[in-house]
Amino acid sequence: MKTLETKEFTERPAVQQATEQLKIVIVGHVDHGKSTFVGRLFYDTGSLPEGKLEQLQRAAERRGAPFEWANLMDALQSERDQNITIDTAQIWFKTAKRQYVIIDAPGHKEFLKNMITGAASAEAALLLIDAHEGVQENSRRHGYLLHLLGIRQMAVLVNKMDLEGYSERRFRQIEAEYSAWLKEVGVEAKLFIPISARNGDNIAGRSTNMPWWNGPTVVEALDQFVVGAPLLNLPLRFPIQDVYRFDERRILAGRVESGQLKVGSRLLFLPSNKSSSVKTIERWNAPSQDVARAGESIGITLTEQIFVERGAVACLESEPPLELTWFKARVFWMGREPLRKERPYKLKLVTQETDCWVEKIERVLDASTLASVERTDGEQYVGRHEVAEITLRTRKPIVFDVHQDVAPMGRFVLVDGFEVSGGGIVAPAAYPRRTSDSSLKSSHLYWSSGKVTREHRARRNGHPGCVIWLTGLSGSGKSTIATELERELFNLGKQTYVLDGDNIRHGLCSDLAFSPRDRRENIRRVGEVAKLFADAGLIVITAFISPYRADRELARSMLPKGQFVEVYVKAPLEVCEKRDTKGLYARARANELKEFTGISAPYEPPESPELVLPTDQLTVEECVNLIIEHLHLRDHETIVSI
């Protein structure tokens, strides 16, 4: 191998312990030497497995073909046409300073999609330009996309300098041309390095072929990059990934995307606009710490139980994100079908998901020229591999930041059918800030009001609509109280209706079982139905075990303040089990019924219900009277006496 004989390979000092890792992506126009560069980089940093190089060289010799560095990375059969086995492709390498991870090995057909996949998680990028061919379409496109993806650390490697006689003039020419392009894109041109990947010039060792070059080698340039974006100093953003109920605790799980939260921090949850404080920060098999910083996947518990679900974003009240049903964005499209205005897409932004559609396509760009794309057919769409400035409209309010302010909250993907088809960043615009009165926001945003108002109905009925929410163990007396209360209210001339657990499960919720997830959905549906009935002016009585506090809080949050009356129908388990009117306890004890509340599933008693009815001490009549008294009290205070 000529190139190897002429090039002295210097052994690098053994790496002690790599204390940090930097993720890099390598991009550039096809055939500008990405694979060759990676092969050479591995060799020059001593990162190749023993015997690998010799094996490849022998294989090349057998085929009578010249050895190519690129073969090292071309591992998949579809990408190679020669008959050699490559049983390893480590995609990480080490320098004296740290470990590097090459996120996506180059050389794939669908390169743009892979390039974007790799670049999106990279902390730095190397962009290769062939000194002989000069700046090409993908050199420009990749440069633009790196910028769009938020990569701010980049070195441009002018490769194949050997083909240009190691000419400084040629190097400076390309440097000038590409710097001008980057400037147009909005990037300050930082670092250009002349290299020959094939011969190893200026990769790990300084080239003797280019004595005019005083700048860094590639490895030196890499070692100058900084690890980790400064997300810690940004406002707190803690998107909820999931809510777990383990070991009798309700844990909100998620990753701190920016800033930090502490035990005691007062958190505002958007879009529900509810507040609570951090009681504990939960980790498993880790030292206890009262603070969680950007990048940590943790769990928290709250001091006051409020309803929170996946997609909520916790922040500090002093520095909230934006919360709207529209935003402006720059998107790049990878879908087979173009991005069109009339089609619905799914938007995913941190853990939020909502349907959305393109309200306006401001401009479609060719990412390799930045020229506007004019459609000859007069249609408006964003084609595959095109970039566009658009306005998105979402079905639900979405919590976000402008990308340049808080990057993790300002980037999103669009899903078309089953496929992630586009990505984008939130562009700056004149967004209205959140107002403190958000009662008209979130769930009420698309509430259509008729001409007959809640007040009109209340005046005619002589009472407002409300929900009497009976909760308690099976056999505690909920249904008995509910039917008796309904009869009494009816006799008093009130509009009333009972939503009974068993009845609802026969129809509306017949598709649900008794897992925590299904129970939550059951209660959500009941809550929504109760809300509609109450809005129609009825005194709705619900009789559901509703064992989880958070689920009841969800129901409460659906109704105007004061119109949700939580009644804890309280009887000891032994009493309920003794009553066992439906024979369910016996079956649960015999293991015939799974997830039976009180036996094999938990019941979380209300912390501050409007009423508690100890049914082992009170008669049904007494219970009903207590509820009616409570309602009358409220009647005098509120709207009923209009």
Binding site: S78, W92, A120, Q241
Partner: protein, 270 residues
């Protein structure tokens, strides 16, 4: 944040995404170091719990102490274990150790097809697997959330883009998604983490009196130990820092033909 914590946090995030997005989720557990680290990470993600079943594909040719170790952890950590076997192939004696099949064909029946059978039987739509990019070249091309079609096949030429931890969690009926929370870890990272967390690993990884240890575990007839004096986790890490042989060099099926492993993986192997 140190790099092990970074790796850990990313894996936890992925596990939680998987748990949220897939109603019918399972984790493959090969008893080896990687999937045991994965199991540990699941306990991290879910605060000491493992809220989905583990699937062990048992070829019946595993090194016997692997099964003992498996059953011990199942008891101690209160795990739900599903054992998958290709009973039909085993009954017919269609195996490499019986001399009837090549190594790769044996893998294909006893591992790949057994896996397919167990996934179909339980209707799993999300399967968590502990593969790493640095293990071998086809795995280097993987995604964190990697779709498999109805025949369990992997279309490596047309993989979904993966941006900013937004994964492919929408999939057509009949297809499933492989989830790879350890994709970004290296072999050394695994051992460093085992050391940091004090995770119990099977003793086969440590050098015995003959000066041999297993670096990668598989079926007894096709897995060879390496020469080694590493008797502790720390010594293994030191050894790996200085080695230049590949992790799977002791796995004979990989060497049987040049693209053996690639073919297996395209057809649905882990």
């Amino acid at each position: 944040m140190d790099y092990l914590s970074k790796l850990e946090n990313q894996s936890i995030y992925i596990l939680r995404e998987a748990f949220n997005k897939f109603e019918n989720l399972a984790m493959l557990w090969s008893i080896g170091k990687d999937s045991t680290v994965l199991l540990w990470l699941a306990r991290k993600a879910f605060f000491g719990h493992v809220p989905f079943p583990l699937v062990h594909v048992d070829t019946t040719y595993k090194i016997p102490s692997m099964i003992e170790y498996r059953d011990r952890l199942v008891r101690e950590w209160k795990l739900e274990l599903i054992v998958g076997k290709n009973e039909e192939a085993l009954r017919a004696g269609q195996t490499y150790p019986n001399g009837r099949l090549s190594r790769v064909a044996c893998c294909s029946l006893l591992k790949k097809d057994a896996l397919k059978q167990v996934l179909e039987k339980h209707g799993f739509t999300g399967v968590i697997v502990g593969v790493r990019r640095d293990e071998e070249p086809t795995r280097a091309k993987e995604r964190y959330f990697s779709p498999r079609d109805k025949n369990m096949e992997w279309n490596v030429e047309d993989q979904p883009p993966e941006l900013w931890d937004q994964f492919k969690t929408d999939y057509a009926p009949g297809t499933h998604i492989r989830i790879h929370p350890l994709l970004h870890w290296t072999e050394i990272n695994i051992w460093e983490y085992i050391e940091r967390e004090n995770i119990p690993v099977i003793p086969l990884y440590f050098a015995n009196a003959k000066g041999e240890r297993y670096r990668s575990l598989g079926c007894a007839p096709c897995t060879a130990p390496i020469k080694s004096q590493a008797r502790t986790v720390r010594e293994i890490i030191e050894e790996l820092r200085n080695t230049k042989t590949t992790e799977r060099s002791g796995r004979a099926q990989d060497q049987e033909s040049e693209d053996a492993f690639e073919k297996l993986r395209r057809d649905g192997y882990m």
